[in-house]
Subunit: 389 residues, 2 copies
C-alpha cells in the first residue's frame, strides 16, 4: 500500500501504542478459543453505577439531547464545585469549571490555550503517552524528566532544576500517575507549583485517577493554588469511561479563552452524559464508588506481593489508580518481547514499558488490576508457570 502523499510531519513523531499489537493478537487468540486474562486495560471492569445509568435513562426520556453551552451544563458545573467543597473543603467557583469530552478534551484545551510551537513542556517519563503526542500536534517540545523509583516515579523540584530551560512554559504532572500508580505528596506538589510560578511557568495537574487512592488521604492540588490547571474525569473513579465526560479547572483569567477554544474544538460534551454525571455525586453513588475503591485496594494488596514473589521489582507500593509498574529486569532484558511471550504462552495480556516513554522502558511492564480477584490469581499462577519453566 502506498503511503499518503500529504501527511503532517507530526504524524511521524506520534507513535502508535505498542499494546495495540498485543491486543490484536489477544483478540485473535480469543477468537481461536484461548483464554486471555486482560491486565492491559486502563478501564475499570465495573459497570457504570446504577444511579448514573438511571439518570442517563431519565435524561433521554426527558429529551435532554440538545447542545449544552460549550463550557458545559450549568447544574453539572455547580455540582462539581460543591463536590470540591464537600470532599476537599476547597472553594472552586463554578465559572472556573469547564466540562469536556473526557480528560483528553480537557488536556487538549489546556495545552492549546497555553503553548506555542517551540515552547517546552516538562513531563514525567514514564507517563501517559498522549500527553507527549498532543504536544507534537501543537509543535511544542516535550522535556522528559526521567523519574525513578527513588522519587516514586514522580517529578520533584530537584529534578525540575536539572532540566530547566528558559523555554519551559508548562509543567505537566499526574497524581495518581498512569502507568506507575504513584502519588505526589501535598508538600511536593506545593513546592513544584511554587517553583514553576517563580520561573514564570504554569502547572497542569492530571487528577483523573483522583478518588482511587489507597492507604493515604487524597487531596486536590486546588487546595494549594487557584493559579493552576487541574484535569479530571468521570471515567475512572466514577466508572463512566464510555460516556466521555471530563472537566478542567482553570485560573480565572483563562475562562474566556477556554470557552472560545471549546466552541471551536468540540462545541460541547455529550448532553445525556452530562446530565447522567449529575448523579455521580449522589450519596448512594459515592457509596458504590467507595466500595469499589475497597475492591481495587484489595486487588492491589494481593497483586503487589504476588508479583514480587515472582521476581518482579516493585520498590514502592503504588498508592493510586489501578496500575502496578513492575520492574521485570530480573526476568528479561526486553520487556516488549517479554509481554509478547507472556501473552503467547500464558494468555495474560500486560502493557510494555515502551508505551510510556523512553526511560528504560525495556525494564518495565504495567499491570492493570481491572479484572476480578479470581482472574488475578489465575494470572499469577500462569505467570509462575511461565517464569519457572
Amino acid at each position: 500500500m502506498t503511503g499518503p502523499l500529504i501527511r503532517a510531519r507530526h504524524m511521524q513523531a506520534i507513535q502508535p501504542f505498542r499494546v495495540m499489537e498485543l491486543l490484536a493478537r489477544a483478540k485473535k487468540m480469543e477468537a481461536d478459543g484461548r483464554s486471555v486474562i486482560h491486565m492491559e486495560v486502563g478501564e475499570p471492569d465495573f459497570e457504570t453505577p446504577r444511579p448514573v445509568i438511571d439518570a442517563g435513562i431519565q435524561a433521554l426520556r426527558e429529551g435532554r439531547t440538545h447542545y449544552t453551552p460549550a463550557v458545559g451544563d450549568m447544574s453539572l458545573r455547580n455540582t462539581i464545585s460543591q463536590y470540591y467543597l464537600d470532599r476537599f473543603d476547597t472553594h472552586v467557583d463554578a465559572d472556573r469549571i469547564l466540562i469536556t469530552p473526557g480528560a483528553s478534551g480537557a488536556l487538549q484545551l489546556a495545552l492549546s490555550v497555553l503553548v506555542n510551537p517551540g515552547d517546552e513542556v516538562v513531563l514525567a517519563d514514564p507517563g501517559y503517552p498522549c500527553n507527549r503526542n498532543l504536544l507534537y500536534l501543537l509543535g511544542a517540545i516535550p522535556v522528559a524528566v526521567n523519574v525513578c523509583p527513588d522519587t516514586g516515579f514522580q517529578i520533584t523540584v530537584e529534578l525540575l532544576k536539572q532540566v530547566w530551560t528558559d523555554s519551559i512554559r508548562v509543567v505537566l504532572l499526574a497524581s495518581p500517575s498512569n502507568p506507575t500508580g504513584t502519588l505526589i505528596s501535598k508538600a511536593g506538589m506545593a513546592s513544584i507549583i511554587e517553583f514553576a510560578r517563580g520561573k514564570g511557568a504554569i502547572v497542569i495537574i492530571d487528577e483523573i485517577y483522583q478518588g482511587l487512592v489507597y492507604d493515604v488521604e487524597g487531596f486536590t492540588a486546588l487546595e494549594l493554588s487557584g493559579d493552576i490547571f487541574v484535569i479530571n474525569s468521570f471515567s475512572k473513579y466514577f466508572g463512566m469511561t464510555g460516556w466521555r465526560v471530563g472537566w478542567v479547572i482553570m485560573p480565572r483569567q483563562y475562562v474566556d479563552d477556554m470557552d472560545k477554544l471549546a466552541q471551536n474544538l468540540y462545541l460541547a460534551a455529550s448532553t445525556p452524559a452530562q446530565v447522567a454525571a449529575l448523579a455521580a455525586f449522589k450519596p448512594g453513588t459515592l457509596e458504590i464508588l467507595e466500595e469499589r475503591r475497597g475492591i481495587f485496594q484489595h486487588r492491589r494488596d494481593y497483586l503487589v506481593p504476588a508479583l514480587q514473589g515472582l521476581g518482579f521489582g516493585i520498590p514502592q507500593i503504588p498508592r493510586g489508580a489501578f496500575y502496578i509498574y513492575a520492574d521485570c529486569s530480573g526476568l528479561t532484558d526486553n520487556s516488549f518481547q517479554f509481554c509478547q511471550d507472556v501473552l503467547e504462552q500464558t494468555g495474560v495480556a500486560i502493557t510494555p514499558g515502551l508505551d510510556f516513554g523512553d526511560n528504560r522502558p525495556e525494564r518495565y511492564v504495567r499491570f492493570a488490576y481491572t479484572t476480578g480477584q479470581s482472574q488475578l490469581e489465575e494470572a499469577v499462577d500462569r505467570l509462575r508457570t511461565f517464569i519457572q519453566s
Copy 2:
C-alpha cells in the same frame, strides 16, 4: 482583570463568535420577560427521533458504557457503510469510516493528519468559522476564497485558480454550506476534486447537512472519488446534536494515522450515543427524518419570499441546511448593528455576517429556520414593523 501571562499566540487569531454577545443579550431580555424568537441557532428545533432515544435507553439498560475502539463501534461503521450503499449506491468500506465526537472531532482529525504549520488551506468566505480557527491552532494558513451569489456562495475551479499557490495542500468545501445553505453541483464537485488532485492537494468535504436538501437530488462526494475526506454527523439531519457523534470517511492510506490520532485526541466517541445512532438508519427513523425535511423545506419556502418582501436580497434560493444568508445592504450598511437593533427592538435574534468571515460581512445576516412556522411568521411581522418604522 489581568490577562494571562502565558497564552498561545493563536488565541489572538481565534475570534469569539459575535452571536454570543447577542445570545447573552437575548437571554437577559427573556429573563426580563420579553419574548425572543430564536433564528440564530444552528440546531434543529426537533427532538431526537423516538427510535433513537429508545435505542439510547436500551443501550444504557444493557450497560453499553465502556470504551469503544478509537475508530468507533464496528456495527455503527458497518451500518454507515450500508447507508452509503442504500442511499447513494456507493461502496464505502467500513474500515475507511471512523466515528468521531461530532463533526468537530472529524474535522480536527482530518486537518491534523494533513497539515503542517505554514501549509495553506483553501476555504470559502463566508464559511463555518471553526474551520479557520482549527487551522490557526495547527499553525496552518487559511486562504479565503471570497464567494459571492454568482457562484451560489461556493468555490469553483475558476476561483481556485485565482488564489492558488504552491503552499496549498488542502481544499475545504462544504455542501450544503453554513451559513449560505447553498450546494455544490456534482459536476462542480468533480471538477474541483480533479483540479486539486492535479495540483497535489487533497479535498475535505463537509457534508454535515447532507440529507437536508430541497428541490434537487442529494449526493455524496464519495460517489466521485475515494481519495477525499468526507465529514458527516448525526447532529443535523439525524437530529442528534447534543449526543455528539459524527464520522469521517478517509482515503484508505490514512486509516492507521487517523486511528492513532483519534486515540490521542479523544480516545473514542460516546458509547451510548454510538449505540443509539445505530437506530438512526432504521426505516421508521428515516421516515420521521424525511417528514422533518419536508417541514424545513416548507419553512424555507415561506421565509425566502417573505424576507425578499421586506427588502432582503436573496439572489439564489438556498437548497440545503436550514439557513438563509440574506443581503441586508438595502436596509443597513452595518449588519452587526442591524442585528443588535433588531434584537433590541423586535426580540428577533439573527446572526451577523461577521461570524462567517471577512467577505463583506457588514452586508449579510444569517437566518436559521430552526423554529416553528408560527414563530417564523411572527418574526416576519416584527421585522416588517421594525423596517417600516
